[in-house]
């Protein structure tokens, strides 16, 4: 079936299978920030936004995205660069594999929560796993980025 979506602000049309997931569709069309880690809905690496809400693209059927707005890191370049710089400054990134999903979730949180507490930040990010950092550096960077020291 053909789907029409607004991908990062641009209308695109893709042919998709009935059982295809967005992570695969987007990667097949060159959206390389979208990665799969676990492929079992547990790691958060494949996070994208559908109609501004963060969702796991490894579990979102492509066919159901018809008519929706899809946002990936490619569509949030300015914001993700800004946050990435804070991450680097705080020494909170190691291999960087988890970063795309992590950054998509942090920017969604910035838009959704006003002045979040540490507890709210941690809760919002429970779905994003990082196997290197131990999260403390990331938490520091998020607080700095959000101005909630």
């Amino acid at each position: 079936m053909q789907i029409e979506i607004i991908l990062n602000g641009n209308k695109v049309t893709y042919d998709v299978k009935n059982d295809e997931f967005l992570a695969d569709t987007l990667r097949a069309h060159g959206i390389s920030s979208v990665r799969k880690g676990c492929n079992t809905t547990c790691c958060g690496l494949c996070t994208i936004w559908i109609d501004e809400k963060p969702v796991l693209s490894c579990a979102a059927l492509s066919i159901r995205a018809n008519g929706k707005r899809i946002t990936t890191m490619e569509g949030l370049q300015k914001e993700s660069e800004e946050f990435a710089q804070v991450l680097v400054a705080e020494g909170s990134e190691q291999c960087g594999f988890c970063s795309p999903g992590f950054i998509m979730t942090v920017i969604a949180m910035k838009r959704e929560l006003k002045n979040p507490t540490e507890e709210e930040i941690l809760h919002y990010l429970t779905g994003n796993l990082c196997r290197c950092t131990g999260y403390m550096g990331q938490l520091r960077a998020i607080k700095k980025y959000l101005g909630v020291m």
Binding site: M1, N18, D19, F21, T40, T41, C42, G44, T47, K53, P54, V55, L56, C58, A59, A60, L61, I63, R64, T105, A108, H123, Y124, L125, T126, G127, N128
Partner: protein, 264 residues
């Protein structure tokens, strides 16, 4: 991963049901998070998103939750946060992460009667009914006892009353499956104690609920908790042994009752 030959977005629930029963491998899809872990060969995947089943509404006597509402909708609903001591948002807020809860649906979670379900345990402690397209409306407790039948769960309805509730769970780590979960609620000294993830599906501890409703003082807390742990069956799986669950049941029951007693 499942495969699907056809994909359909019916415009009416009658049409959806007709497609469901017209072939054995036709399947309703919710958020597809659980289905995607199976290798099911689906004939027609039935998407209910055109049926406006994603709302959480306040009616005169009930709070109505559509089958396509997501767990994130439950978690963030002001209506549900302000009722029953926020027990439903509390029950779902530790399931994986926000991106996951933005996908998974109420209808699939209740219809599937998962033993580990956090949501069912909390719902069962409230005055909850479910509405199925074919089988009609019934209490959640009756629904959980029925054998599986092909049907579509359309709504969950919770009696709007002053019942105060608490949800407690034990996990190896936040976002893992629960090892055990407990919900307690009280309305005018009518208590309901529920234990789930035993690992069997949630069940009301009838004797303990009755004893608690008839007479309660803080000195009885240990006895009530022991009664609940004795009357229910517990099993062993990779997350915990039956003995461990039975012991921890007492702890969670006490915590749940104590929290309810502290509700204004």
């Amino acid at each position: 991963m499942f495969t699907a030959k056809e994909f359909s977005q019916p415009k009416t629930i009658e049409e959806a049901y007709h497609i469901l029963v017209s072939r054995r491998n036709n399947t309703v899809i919710g958020g597809s998070a659980f289905l995607r872990m199976s290798s099911k060969k689906i004939g027609t995947a039935i998407d209910l998103s055109k049926l406006e089943l994603n709302e959480i509404k306040e009616q005169n006597e009930y709070i109505e939750i559509g089958a396509y509402a997501t767990f994130r909708d439950i978690e963030t609903s002001p209506l549900l946060r302000n009722h029953f001591n926020g027990v439903l948002p509390n029950a779902v807020k530790n399931i994986i992460g926000i991106q996951f809860r933005n996908i998974v649906t109420v209808g699939a979670s209740v219809f599937s009667k998962y033993g580990f379900s956090d949501f069912i345990t909390a719902l069962l402690a409230l005055d909850t009914e479910v509405e199925l397209y074919k089988a009609g409306r019934m209490s959640l407790e009756d629904f959980l006892k029925r054998p599986f039948e092909r049907d579509i769960l359309t709504r969950v309805l919770i009696k709007k009353n002053q019942r105060q509730a608490s949800y407690q769970h034990l996990r190896n780590s936040i976002s893992d499956y629960p090892i055990l979960n407990v919900a307690a609620s009280n309305l005018d000294n009518h208590w309901i104690l529920v234990v789930g993830a035993r690992p069997q599906r949630a069940q009301i501890a009838r004797k303990a609920s009755k004893a608690l409703s008839e007479h309660f003082s803080f000195d009885d807390l240990d006895q009530i908790a022991a009664l609940a742990a004795e009357e229910l069956a517990f099993g062993t799986n990779e997350r915990g042994t039956a003995n461990y669950r039975q012991a921890m049941c007492k702890v969670l029951v006490k915590r749940a009752i104590t929290e309810v007693l502290q509700c204004k």
